[in-house]
Symmetry: C2
Subunit: 327 residues, 2 copies
């Protein structure tokens, strides 16, 4: 077969890398791998890189870059219900990232190590003529067989999301000089959501045995829910009017209605999307209260394939960008 | 303390990253981390990245780039006596690395997966505006407490090296149009040694219980032996005349005597340097015969610090470059 120059990121993975996966690599459908740990445990393995100018802005504070790097990995562990243990770190740094940059970067790592109870297990330190490229391999623990995979959703399960959606994409828009009409506090809130995601570790652990499937939202709700659908061999329908929005995001959507797509199609929120049966509603409501974190049903899994979005009037909507895709 | 703009790679690691290390991170003195595995086992964790234009040449065949990426990581596992299990992969690729490149790259991964008994457990696939940056986190197994660390050398132990040294650096010189006087077969041998290192996994496993300390030679003999010395709180003296050279390397040194520094100060050979007591000589000789791999004593560990090199006349020599250093 002649190489197709237009394979996107997920097609590339499916075609070139999935055939290389171990059984514990879950056909690369789950963004994590599983290996046996100590008695009764498994390790959940995850690797994610961030590239200057692609995943973060060159002028982002180095400490927050470090935290973002750890948190995008922690977020995947959260989605599986794992307790993080530690990480390996690769830094490929251009001359512009000198010791002052590195000192702040290391302080960010130290702060999040303390906060999330993780430590560094090794690394590799390189110079690069290109943009800073930072890669982490994170590992955590779950009870054997208890990881919440993408593949367990059942027809009729509700599609839940945690927190609020679209904030990170709107924060990036603010950093680009857009959304000038928002108040300063709202703008700061959105920027912070872009720069410093909050891995939902406590939620993820509480979802073990409660959710049938889960993923973190790093590529956008439609894309990541799509991954859950693919792994679960199901489809899903979500209703745009049910999407949980923060107050600043709601203001942004009121001013510019197409900004709703930030909540549907843009990544970087690092909230969780999960499948839970309707009868879990009460337990989820009390969990939401305990964690002070909205847990919102936004749709339903169903037989079929793919994600359908209904707009405020209940009509099928087209989402212009379903998640950030490399290539 | 004011940031020092001239910290080298190892000083950067010691200053900024070592304070972040877990006990299982071995103070970052060992290039690997250890975590508990199944009953009686530990996992050895290692991460290493390669950057286009830094660690390999843009025109290197993509399949060999993939193999080099895996092998530089496997080499560290070999040095610890571990049996490799699997890996996580991060690819950050520029537009120039399209599907044709990726297809060859994946074929290289597949070939080495089969050869070394490893599988893929997950990954991350990114686009980058910079040079291709490829990162692997590799894990393998050892019996608990049996990993051969850098920290176990004892005064009086002999410094052994496996295989031949300097070939990779000379291969790179050939690729740069140097060493034109060598015969074609010799040039091909050296290029192959540069492009396709041979992780000494079988040797490493056989050294468990036999060697007191070991490291792979990725930064050059003097640098990597120096790491063993630092971790073991010892010094070492090596004799240049004892260095094992391949036939083409010997020819290169005869033509240009300063090429001997390729065997002392250049990296990329991915042979092992290890500490063994004199009484292990017989067992090492029979191991060498069994593996068809030279195991050569080139010096001795001693009280003190740092690595001394004696030239052919027994005079202290200065090695111009002690290993590749980023920054």
């Amino acid at each position: 077969m002649a190489p197709n120059p237009h394979l996107d990121e997920f097609e590339r993975i499916a075609r070139f890398f999935a055939p290389l996966a171990a059984p514990g690599g879950l056909r690369l459908l789950d963004d994590v791998g599983l290996i046996p740990g100590e008695a009764g445990e498994q390790y959940v393995l995850k690797t994610d890189a961030i590239v200057e100018g692609v995943h973060y802005r060159p002028d982002d504070p180095p400490g927050q870059v470090a935290q973002k790097l750890l948190r995008v990995n922690l977020s995947d562990l959260a989605a599986k219900g794992a307790t993080p243990v530690g990480y390996l770190l690769v830094t490929c740094l251009p001359p512009a990232c000198g010791e002052a940059w590195l000192e702040q970067f290391a302080k960010g790592l130290a702060a999040d190590q303390k906060r999330f109870g993780i430590e560094l297990y090794g690394g590799d330190s390189n110079a690069t003529p290109g943009p800073a490229t930072l890669s982490v391999a994170m590992f955590g623990k779950v009870k054997r067989g208890k990881a919440v995979l993408r593949s367990g959703a059942k027809p009729g399960d509700l599609v839940y999301v945690s927190g609020t959606l679209g904030d990170a994409a709107l924060g990036l828009a603010v950093l680009k000089g857009e959304l000038a009409g928002l108040d300063p506090a709202g703008r700061d809130f959105l920027i912070r959501r872009y720069r410093l995601p909050e891995p939902r570790l406590e939620l993820g652990r509480a979802l073990v045995g409660l959710a049938h499937a889960a993923a973190d939202i790093s590529d956008g709700l439609v894309a990541d829910l799509g991954h859950v659908c693919t792994a679960s061999k199901l489809g899903a329908t979500i209703e745009a009017k049910k999407l949980p929005l923060s107050k600043p995001a709601r203001a942004a959507v009121q001013a510019e209605p197409e900004r709703i797509f930030a909540a549907l199609g843009a990544g970087d929120d690092y909230e969780l999307v999960f499948a839970a049966p309707a009868q879990a509603g009460k337990r989820l409501a009390s969990l939401s209260k305990k964690l002070k974190l909205p847990l919102t049903p936004v749709g339903r899994f169903e037989k079929g394939a793919g994600v359908r979005v209904l707009d405020a009037e209940g009509r099928p909507a087209t989402v212009p960008q379903t998640g950030y895709r490399h290539f």
